[in-house]
C-alpha cells in the first residue's frame, strides 16, 4: 500500500501547490483589477483611513481638515468655518466632492504621482500616510467680510475679490450657502437627508453664485463699451458725445431712456439734445449715450472687446470651473438690440467673478491676469509640490485706454454727482468703480439686480471686487457697500 500512499502524498502536495498558486494569483497579481471592481467597499473607505490634507487660506487659517475619529473610518472631514468658505472648499462626502475638495483631490488624498515616493517612505518608516496641504490665495479677512456683507442683504448674492496684479482670488463668497460639515458624515442615511434638503431648497444653497450663476451686468458693462470706444482711437474721456434724453431706436417704436427718465445734463445740455463729455456720461451712467455709442461701434467690435475681458469663455478653471459670462451674437445685427447690449441688457450675462475681472484688467494697465485660487501645495514633509505662477490671460486694452477708463471709474466715486459717491466714497481709500442696476424678468417686471465692479486703492491697485445682489435694487445702494466692506477688510489685514 505504500506505493499508493506515496502517490497520494504527491496528490496532496499538488493540491497545496495549486492553492498556493491560487492565493498568489489573487493577492499578488489581481489586487489592482479587484480594486476597481463594483462594490469594493474596502478601497472606497481606504480614503478615510489616513489623514487627508488640510486646506488653508493665504494667511494660514485652516478651513478644511481631517480629524481623527472612532469607528471604521479613522478620519473625518471638518470645516471650521463652514458657511463662509463653503463655495471655496466645497465638500468631500462618502460619494462625491465639490469645490477645491474635488479639484485638488489628488493632492489632498495623496494619490498624486508626485506623492508616491513620500507615501512609500512613510510606508517603510511606519509613518501614517497623509495627504498634501493645499494653501489658497483666499484671504480670511476679505472672505469673512464678503460673506457677512452678503448675508446682511438676505438676498441671493455673490462676491469675488481679485488681486489685479496677479489674478489671485482674495475672496469668493456666495449667499445663501450650505454647511459642508453636513456632508462629512459617515452615516449614509443622514448624508442623503442633508443632500436632499439642500437640493430641494428653492433658495439653491448649493449654487456657487460667485462663479456659477450669471446675471445681467447692467451699466457696469459700460466699462466694456467705453473700452471698445477708446480702443478705436476716436474717443477719449473728454470727447463730447451725443446725449439725448430719449434715444430713438431704429426698427422699433421703443425708445431708450435714462434712469428714472432723467436727462443726461451736466448743465450744458438742458434740452437733452446736445452733447456731454464722455466722462460725464460714464459718471452719471447715461444709457442713451452708451446705447447710441453701441450702435455706432457695432455688435462685433463690442463682442471682441468683451471676449478680451474673458467673456464667452466656458473653459475657465480657477481651478473651480467657472460658468461662461456671455455676450451672445445679436440676431441680424439689429441696432436696437445692439444698443441694449451696449448698456449691459438684452442677453448679456456675467458672473460676479467676471465683474471683478473687468475692474482687475483696468486696474492692471489693461493686462488681465488669469484668476487662480491655489497658491501652493505642500507635501506632508513640507516640500513644496506646486506653487502658483501668475499668468496673463490677455491684454484687454492698451495701458492708455486703461488709464482713460480708470479715470472715469475714479469719477464715479469721487464726483459728488457720481453714481457711487454716496456709498463708496471713503476719505482714506480711493476707490474706482462702476455701478449697475440691471432690469430683468419678463418686460423687466422683476426686481432689479444690483451690480458693482471696482478696484482700490486707485494709486496702487491691490484689490478688484465684483458684487451682484439679485433683486437688490440699485447697484450703488445694495452692492457698493458690500464691495467697500471687502476692500476695507482686506486693506486693513494687509496693513498689519
Amino acid at each position: 500500500m505504500n506505493r499508493a500512499l506515496r502517490r497520494i502524498s504527491l496528490v496532496v502536495l499538488a493540491m497545496f501547490l495549486l492553492l498556493l498558486l491560487s492565493v498568489n494569483y489573487v493577492q499578488a497579481f489581481e489586487p489592482s483589477s479587484l480594486a476597481v471592481q463594483r462594490g469594493n467597499a474596502r478601497v472606497f473607505s481606504q480614503q478615510y483611513q489616513y489623514q487627508r490634507g488640510s486646506i488653508l487660506t493665504s494667511n494660514n487659517k485652516t478651513i478644511a481638515e481631517s480629524v481623527h475619529v472612532k469607528g471604521i473610518y479613522a478620519y473625518q472631514r471638518s470645516y471650521p468655518d463652514p458657511l463662509v468658505y463653503a463655495p471655496v472648499t466645497g465638500y468631500d462626502s462618502l460619494y462625491s466632492a465639490t469645490g477645491i475638495e474635488k479639484t485638488e483631490d489628488k493632492f489632498l488624498s495623496g494619490s498624486d504621482p508626485q506623492l508616491t515616493v513620500h507615501n512609500l517612505i512613510d510606508l517603510v518608516t511606519g509613518k501614517p500616510r497623509r495627504g498634501a496641504t493645499v494653501q489658497l490665495t483666499v484671504n480670511s479677512a476679505a472672505q469673512t467680510a464678503a460673506y457677512n456683507a452678503l448675508k446682511e442683504t438676505g438676498l441671493p448674492s455673490g462676491a469675488v475679490a481679485l488681486d489685479p496684479k496677479t489674478g489671485a482670488v482674495l475672496a469668493l463668497a456666495s449667499y445663501p450657502t450650505f454647511n459642508p460639515n453636513k456632508y462629512a458624515t459617515f452615516n449614509s442615511a443622514q448624508l442623503k437627508r442633508a443632500d436632499n434638503r439642500y437640493l430641494k431648497d428653492p433658495a439653491q444653497p448649493l449654487l456657487n453664485r460667485a462663479i456659477n450663476q450669471t446675471f445681467p451686468p447692467g451699466s457696469t458693462f459700460k466699462v466694456v463699451t467705453s473700452s471698445t470706444a477708446f480702443s478705436t482711437g476716436n474717443y477719449n474721456q473728454q470727447t463730447r458725445v451725443y446725449a439725448p434724453t430719449n434715444l430713438k431706436l431704429p426698427g422699433t417704436t421703443k425708445e431708450l431712456i435714462n434712469f428714472d427718465n432723467l436727462p443726461c445734463d451736466n448743465g450744458s445740455n438742458p434740452t437733452g439734445n446736445g452733447k456731454v463729455p464722455f466722462i460725464y456720461a460714464f459718471t452719471v451712467s447715461c444709457n442713451t449715450v452708451f446705447g447710441n455709442l453701441g450702435m455706432q461701434l457695432g455688435d462685433n467690435a463690442i463682442r471682441q472687446q468683451a471676449v478680451k475681458f474673458g467673456m464667452n469663455d466656458a473653459n475657465l478653471r480657477i481651478p473651480l470651473p467657472v460658468s461662461a459670462s456671455s455676450y451672445p451674437p445679436i440676431p441680424g445685427n439689429d441696432p436696437a438690440l445692439t444698443a441694449y447690449s451696449a448698456i449691459g441688457q438684452y442677453s448679456d450675462q456675467v458672473t460676479p467673478l467676471q465683474e471683478a475681472m473687468f475692474s482687475a484688467a483696468i486696474a492692471n494697465n489693461g493686462t488681465l491676469m488669469t484668476p487662480y485660487m491655489v497658491q501652493k501645495v505642500t507635501a506632508p514633509d513640507l516640500t513644496p509640490l506646486e506653487t502658483a505662477q501668475p499668468t496673463p490671460l490677455g491684454q484687454t486694452v492698451s495701458p492708455s485706454v486703461a488709464a482713460n477708463v480708470s479715470q472715469m471709474m475714479v469719477d464715479v466715486v469721487k464726483q459728488p454727482y457720481g453714481t457711487a459717491h454716496n456709498t463708496a466714497f471713503l476719505p482714506n481709500i480711493a476707490i474706482a468703480a462702476k455701478t449697475g442696476t440691471a432690469q430683468n424678468g419678463a418686460n423687466n417686471t422683476g426686481l432689479d439686480d444690483a451690480v458693482f465692479t471696482c478696484f482700490a486703492p486707485v494709486s496702487n491697485p491691490q484689490i478688484a471686487v465684483g458684487v451682484i445682489v439679485k433683486g437688490g435694487g440699485l447697484g450703488a445702494d445694495a452692492s457698493a457697500p458690500i464691495a467697500v466692506k471687502i476692500i476695507q477688510a482686506y486693506l486693513a489685514s494687509q496693513a498689519k
Binding site: M1, A4, P31, N40
Partner: protein
C-alpha cells in the same frame, strides 16, 4: 538494509526511520533508546502559543491602541489548555509525531484571535452591532469549544490505545456515520437549515454539524470495510486501454458511496460535504487496492454527477454561475456578493496584508466561518496565507507519513483517509474562496467559528497522533543478557 538504523536517532530528525529494519542493539554499549521528541514538541508549542499571544496583542493595539485586557486570562487559558494536551501526549502517546500538536495549536489559536477581532469590529465595522451568526460571547464560546476539543483529543488518545481496536467497530461506526449524515436531511428545515445549507441539528440556539463527526466515523468504516474487501476489490476484470477495470459485480460499494454523496448534494444542498466524502472514499479505495482504475471510475462518476446536478438543481447551477461570472452586474450584489467581498478582502491585503485589526474583513458575509481564510488573507496578506497553507500541508503530509510508517493495514488506511480528507477540506474551501474551483460552504479546519468543526478536527488530530505513536513506538525491549547480542524482529 544492513546499516544499523534506530528510530529517532539524531541522524533521523523526524524520527520515522524504517521500523522494519532489524535492530542491532547492545553492541556498542547501552541500548540507544528511540526518542519521542516530546521536548521538541514542547518547544514548538511554546512558540505557537507565543505567536498566538502576539497576534492577540496586535489586534488590540491596532483596534484600540491598547493590549487587550483579556490577554492574561485568555492567554493563560490557552497556554494551559495546550500544556494539558502536551502532558496527555507524554502520558498517552509518547512516541507520537511532535509536529502535529504545535501546528494544530497555532491554527486553533489564530482562529480564536480572528474571531475576537471580528467580534470587536462588529457588523460593517460598526462596533455596536454584531456580525450575523456571531454574538458578543463568540470569542468566549470559541475558547470553550477549544477546551472541549482538547478534551475530546485527550479522550480519543485515552480510549483508543491501539488504532486496530477501532476495526472492531467498523460497521457500528459506519451506521453511526450514515445516521449522523442523514439526520439533517430528515429533520424539518427549521431544525436543520442555517444559511441555506441543511447540515445542522439545531435545537434551542445550540447547533451541531453532525457531518463533521460523520467524517471521522465513516473514515473508520471505510478503512475497516476496505481492509476486509481489498483482495476482492483489487481483482482485475477486463483490460481496456491498458487499464485493468474491476469486475462489474465489485462496483457495488463505489456506486453506493456515489449515490450517498449525491443524496447529500440534493437533500442537504451541501456540495462541499458531498465532495469530501466521495473523495475520501475514492482515495482510500485506491490505497487499499492500488488500482488506478478506481480513481478513474470514481472521478468520472463524480464529475458526471456534479455536471448533471448543476443542470438539474438551481443551487448547484448558481454555484457554477458565480464561479464563472462573479463580477457580472446581476451577481455582484446578490449571489456572488460573499465570494466577491472575500476576493476584495484578499486583494486589499495584498502581499503583506493590512496587519491584524487594520483591515475591513467585516464587509464579507459569514467571514467568521466559511470565509475566515479571506479575513486572514486581508490582514496577514499573501505571506500569512502561504504560512497557513503550509501548516495544513504539513499536518496532511505528516499524517500520510504516519500511514506509510505504520504496519497494520487498517491503521494505514485510516491515517491515509483522515490525512487526505483534511487536505481535501482545505482544498475545497480555500480553492472555493480564491475562485480556483466553485465555492462550496464548508468550514476551514481549526480556524472557522463553530464547535463541531473544531472538536472534530481535534479528534482527527488525535487519531493521526495515535497512529503515528503506534508507528514510531519501538518494539518492547527484550531482557538483555550478557552475550546475547542480537535480537531479530519479524517485520
Amino acid at each position: 538494509m544492513s546499516v544499523v538504523a534506530t528510530p529517532g536517532q539524531p541522524g533521523d530528525p523526524a524520527g520515522t526511520g524504517p521500523l522494519h529494519a532489524p535492530v542491532h542493539a547492545a553492541q556498542q554499549g547501552p541500548v540507544p533508546m528511540p526518542r519521542g521528541r516530546r521536548r521538541t514538541e514542547l518547544a514548538m508549542l511554546v512558540f505557537a502559543v507565543a505567536v498566538v499571544l502576539f497576534a492577540y496583542a496586535s489586534v488590540g493595539l491596532s483596534m484600540t491602541g491598547r493590549i487587550p485586557a483579556g490577554i492574561l486570562g485568555y492567554g493563560l487559558a490557552f497556554a494551559l489548555l495546550m500544556l494539558l494536551a502536551h502532558l496527555a501526549i507524554r502520558w498517552l502517546a509518547p512516541w507520537a509525531d511532535p509536529l502535529m500538536l504545535p501546528l494544530a495549536a497555532l491554527l486553533n489559536g489564530l482562529g480564536i484571535v480572528m474571531i475576537y477581532r471580528l467580534q470587536q469590529s462588529g457588523r460593517d465595522g460598526n462596533a455596536g452591532r454584531v456580525i450575523s451568526t456571531m454574538s458578543t460571547s463568540s470569542t468566549v464560546l470559541q475558547v470553550i469549544w477549544s477546551t472541549v476539543g482538547v478534551a475530546a483529543f485527550i479522550a480519543v488518545l485515552a480510549l483508543v490505545r491501539e488504532p486496530r481496536t477501532l476495526q472492531r467497530y467498523t460497521y457500528t461506526l459506519g451506521a453511526v456515520g450514515l445516521v449522523l449524515l442523514a439526520i439533517p436531511a430528515l429533520l424539518p428545515s427549521s431544525l436543520s437549515e442555517v444559511n441555506g445549507a441543511k447540515v445542522w441539528i439545531s435545537v434551542g440556539g445550540f447547533s451541531v454539524q453532525p457531518g463533521e463527526f460523520a467524517k471521522l466515523a465513516l473514515a473508520v468504516f471505510f478503512a475497516g470495510y476496505l481492509v476486509a474487501k481489498r483482495d476482492v476489490l483489487s481483482l482485475a476484470g477486463r483490460r481496456v486501454l491498458g487499464i485493468d477495470l474491476p469486475r462489474a459485480r465489485d462496483l457495488g460499494p463505489v456506486l453506493i458511496a456515489w449515490g450517498a454523496s449525491l443524496l447529500i448534494l440534493v437533500f442537504e444542498t451541501d456540495i462541499g460535504t458531498s465532495a469530501l466524502f466521495f473523495g475520501m472514499f475514492l482515495v482510500m479505495l485506491y490505497v487499499a487496492t492500488q488500482r488506478t482504475s478506481w480513481l478513474l471510475i470514481g472521478g468520472v462518476l463524480f464529475v458526471s454527477g456534479a455536471y448533471v446536478a448543476s443542470k438539474l438543481f438551481a443551487h448547484v447551477h448558481e454555484r457554477v454561475d458565480i464561479w464563472l461570472h462573479p463580477f457580472a452586474a446581476q451577481n455582484v450584489y446578490h449571489s456572488s456578493y460573499q465570494l466577491v467581498q472575500g476576493l476584495y478582502g484578499m486583494g486589499y491585503g495584498g502581499v503583506l496584508g493590512t496587519g491584524l485589526g487594520n483591515g475591513q474583513p467585516y464587509w464579507t458575509p459569514l467571514v467568521q466561518s466559511d470565509f475566515i481564510f479571506t479575513a486572514f488573507g486581508e490582514e496577514l496578506g499573501l505571506t500569512g496565507l502561504m504560512a497557513i497553507l503550509l501548516i495544513y500541508g504539513l499536518i496532511a503530509e505528516r499524517g500520510l507519513r504516519a500511514a506509510v510508517a505504520v504496519r497494520d493495514p487498517f491503521s494505514k488506511l485510516l491515517a491515509a483517509g483522515l490525512s487526505f480528507v483534511l487536505a481535501l477540506q482545505v482544498f475545497v474551501i480555500v480553492g472555493g474562496v480564491t475562485r480556483l474551483i466553485p465555492l462550496t460552504g464548508i468550514t476551514t479546519p481549526f480556524l472557522s467559528q463553530g464547535g463541531s468543526s473544531l472538536v472534530a478536527s481535534w479528534m482527527l488530530i488525535a487519531l493521526l497522533m495515535r497512529i503515528s505513536d503506534t508507528a514510531r513506538r519501538p518494539a518492547p525491549q527484550p531482557i538483555q543478557e550478557e552475550g546475547m547480542t542480537q535480537v531479530v524482529r519479524g517485520g
